[in-house]
Symmetry: D2
Subunit: 343 residues, 4 copies
């Protein structure tokens, strides 16, 4: 069903000048990996050296991913080597061994799986025994706006999950008020479920439908709790909605000290006023204003009647929630301007 291009010359990558950062993407045929590759092809400081895919090794990339204008063919994951940075888009459990090998080969790694986001006990409780616990101490949690300095020096960056990215960006400015109770009602597009076909992702299941899922415990819950630190009770309920991309989280928060409107504005302005990829909005953000961008749009207000704060966060799950933030972290690692490849 793919559309082989007959008559168009492939486009040369813009000026991968001498000294460009050489980068490989491992797991490049999924939604996320393909998008990382697409972003890096347009990145002025990167030479996209290798695209690895278990299933498609040997096949020309452009035949399977017509949006990617490249002459590369997919290589096998274990052929990846001799690059400055590897971006790993593999399922949890499979990512850790690949990361181990890439680090040993001298690359720095941005890993998009859950393998390096949690401490060893929490990981074991939600995913099973960790394959490479020795790497956990050096892994830096890659929520760029909150951990920029550590990311710059890291050898291994654990790119955050999509839901935690939105939740933690939304809640971080409120920490000084004393978080007491947090309810995160999250709505996600279907691409969050990955590219695999299933009854759940069939057009006739999704179109016209909305459903809450992961009620008994979603794996992003412990990541959110870890990010918030000790203290608040947390409820997190994700929903699947009939859009391709994007997440909106409506977050209901009780804090120890309810701020004034001015104080609330100052907290958010202080945290994000200078941030390139966080917008502070005067009304609840629309999902579509973030889709296709690396932005997180935030709206915060006070529900006077209930004595509670309300924060709404919107991101593109594939961009700020995955591939975009991976490129942002790569830029921080490499000392590039943070928006290269992202604007």
């Amino acid at each position: 069903m793919s559309c082989t291009i007959l008559g168009t010359a492939s486009q040369p990558q813009p000026a991968a000048s001498t000294g460009a950062l050489s980068v490989a993407v491992v797991g490049a045929s999924g939604f996320t990996g393909a998008l990382v590759a697409e972003l890096l092809l347009r990145h002025p400081g990167v030479e996209l050296a290798q695209l690895a895919s278990e299933q498609l090794a040997g096949a020309p990339v452009a035949a399977h991913l017509p949006r990617l204008r490249t002459d590369l063919s997919f290589c096998a994951p274990d052929e990846v080597g001799d690059v400055d940075v590897a971006v790993v888009c593999a399922p949890h459990g499979q990512a850790a061994p690949a990361v181990r090998r890439l680090l040993d080969g001298g690359a720095r790694v941005v890993d998009l799986s859950a393998d390096f986001r949690l401490d060893v006990e929490t990981y074991a409780a939600w995913y099973g025994p960790h394959p490479h616990p020795e790497l956990l101490p050096e892994a830096v949690y890659g929520l760029t706006e909150l951990h920029r300095a550590e990311i710059a020096d890291a050898r291994l960056v654990a790119n955050p999950g999509c839901y935690p990215t939105a939740a933690l960006l939304a809640l971080a400015p409120l920490a000084s008020l004393g978080l007491v109770d947090v309810v995160i009602d999250a709505k996600s597009g279907v691409s969050g479920a990955g590219k695999a076909a299933s009854v759940r992702t069939h057009f006739c299941s999704v179109d016209g439908d909305l459903i809450a899922y992961g009620i008994a415990g979603h794996r992003h819950y412990p990541e959110i709790v870890a990010g918030l630190g000790e203290g608040p009770t947390v409820t997190f309920v994700p929903h699947l909605m009939p859009v391709q991309r994007g997440i909106v989280e409506t977050i209901y928060v009780r804090v120890a000290q309810v701020p004034s409107v001015n104080e609330l504005e100052e907290l958010y302005g202080g945290a994000y006023g200078a941030e390139r990829f966080v917008d502070l909005c005067a009304a609840p953000p629309e999902l579509k204003d973030v889709v296709g961008t690396n932005r997180c749009r935030l709206f915060a207000t006070i529900d006077e009647r209930a004595g509670r704060l309300l924060v709404v966060a919107a991101i593109d799950n594939l961009m700020k929630g995955a591939a975009g933030q991976a490129v942002q972290n790569l830029n921080v690692l490499a000392g590039f301007p943070e928006d290269w490849g992202l604007s």
Copy 2:
């Protein structure tokens, strides 16, 4: 753009036997009114006598609403008279005078506006001065499952709003536990915004989008608060999602006494085990399983980590949230089986 039928004979209504209840629909050209009419055309105990529309008076109904197989033409609202029951689908403020006139003419009324759902002070605070406060004492709030006995004897039934229908059905069984704090995160399809074209309802605005609205105060908030009675703090945030029909509400509840799983099941089973139009589900309901039906599907569970209850409710906003419940109430009024015209 409407599709005039050239060659098909209109269908006779099934057996409007002598003694059928004669019914008029006022405001029959909107989403809700048209659906009430469609339901009543299939109702075995009703003769649909008049369909009134301000804008379309005089025009043949089938030309504008091709789903309605009828030879009727729209009449003007003030031509309605001499019917047993009138179903009024007019905007708030305009409904009350119409209801006054219909009651004076001897009809019983099911009113779908907000005009008779609130006490006079609350109404004034959210909508302005009430046009006919003298009617408020006799109006019965038409959430059928909760007020069936009063509805049976009423002259005037105030059909509930869509969001309150789902919220109050979801929360009623918990009253005995002592409601302390309630967060209602509601997601609605576009038909909830009515048939009027606007930037907000344009396909290119809605498709691929989700947005929270009514943050400063939605008019269904006081109706929910009135239904819950004194006590809990309540936050209600509606969202517009890209589906045509249906509402899902995810409700986060703190109660004075957290029940056991068994107690929770008994509360819901006791409340709704015998109800025709309430389903108790073992997993969060899918929106699409209620669209086109008069059902409310409920799922309740305990979030042990946060010491909170979680209830998910799904209804079709045009059916159980409007037209369907209106027919259900008409059935109660008339002494018909409650599912006539609805199954």
Copy 3:
């Protein structure tokens, strides 16, 4: 993910009086079979005796198909027997042996596969050798409006494909003008591709997309050609569009004798003026006016500039294009009013 109903009593089927026609559905878990079952549960003259499914044999029907209010469990296909009529919803090739067995057991059969729609040579060219060619002579092509009399007496009805149903209803009235050249541009919803999950039916593939397919030859092409008979050149191009249900075919026709507007109206009026399930429209039909119904809506006009006729046909692929027409044929077989279970 299915929603087990805890607290609702299953609904008794309406009055399956003594003497009701006993019917089995084979292949009841797919889109089409489930819909046939849903229609038959509401059918006043039918007792739905058995629902067979290879994969789900033994499981309670309501657990998998929550729209079906029944206490039945799925049986295995070869447990079906002792019914008046069997409706077979199996893939081509698998249907013929099942039909053979059911006929031998004394049932009459409505078969929804392609197995009995073509002559033996054409079948072989498109599907391979026919498993039971001995049955072909007695099979009646079940396009109800065109073959009603033969269907009434048939033991085996070959229910037409969805695309041919719309195309042949659209073109039949033009036969007397001499068909010369026919282009059928068809747009179909995703349910036409069945319930199986695939890259092709993933929400993220379909949403926002449209694609032509089957260019090299779609299996409904020979069925259309067979229905039109010798004569015209025919091109048929189906497209997949982002809706769940429904087909619109825009058909461009050159005829030997271009009729006047009046003659064209008379041809269609004469053919379908008395038909319950064919609407003749004065403007191109909207897909949504047929979805959920057994109707075919037709619009025919003359393109004076090009000296050509234009016919637009809309049906619900699952109803008039499959399950609905199967019930219609069952009604003809059994001597019931043709709209029982369908209105």
Copy 4:
């Protein structure tokens, strides 16, 4: 409902170096004008000097179009002046006087209306008397790939309509075969109908629907006929489908001399092999592979059974069908690389 940005600094435009082309967009608040502006903000050779809007004159652009990162406010259309090039996105009839004024002021103009696409008689027949017929002789039809040389020298470029762009690109390579008969079945997303809210563009009208329109004669018909020149009979039927953006045209062609497969490939390869924005595909293109791009993807094949050619063309109606091609033409006018601002 718009989302005012509180805390994010607006982004400086990339390096509008001395000598950048100064450009104004007239009618910048509609779908098309806003997109032209968005493209020009990223254009390395353009200084976006003015954005004009009748209704929004005086308002800050970013407040209404959050995707546009600019400090500009809208000006009134008649305040536009002193620019090198003006891109006019006004309705037909209103565009011509604006173009007259801009040309008199010394600007070169790319006009996106229909005002300069047709000869004076054809214009009169479809739109009424032409307001400025004196400008027609110098207007160049801006289908870039077919008229590049004339565009380079033009003072006034008539940017083509969306449907004609796809149709003429699809058919131009076949001219040498002798076009005899052409059927264009076009499917368009909703943005083709513009930003105005109407019953026709309401989400609940469009979602799940497809409808043929403009049967009696769409205004793009004479533009297609003019582009094809004397000879073939032409039928053009557009359809509205439930996607936001994009057009797919399936085109059925009879030619005087049916080519071989090789000849067909050579015709298309010869016409477009070197084109940056035309892809020749080996299978029917998917709409989504062109959405958001300025590309036209083409697939051509021979229907041996019917002795006819089949061409499928896909474009983004807002890009190659409007704003993108306008920027492409501006690049040709200015002597820039043709993909500046478009890749």
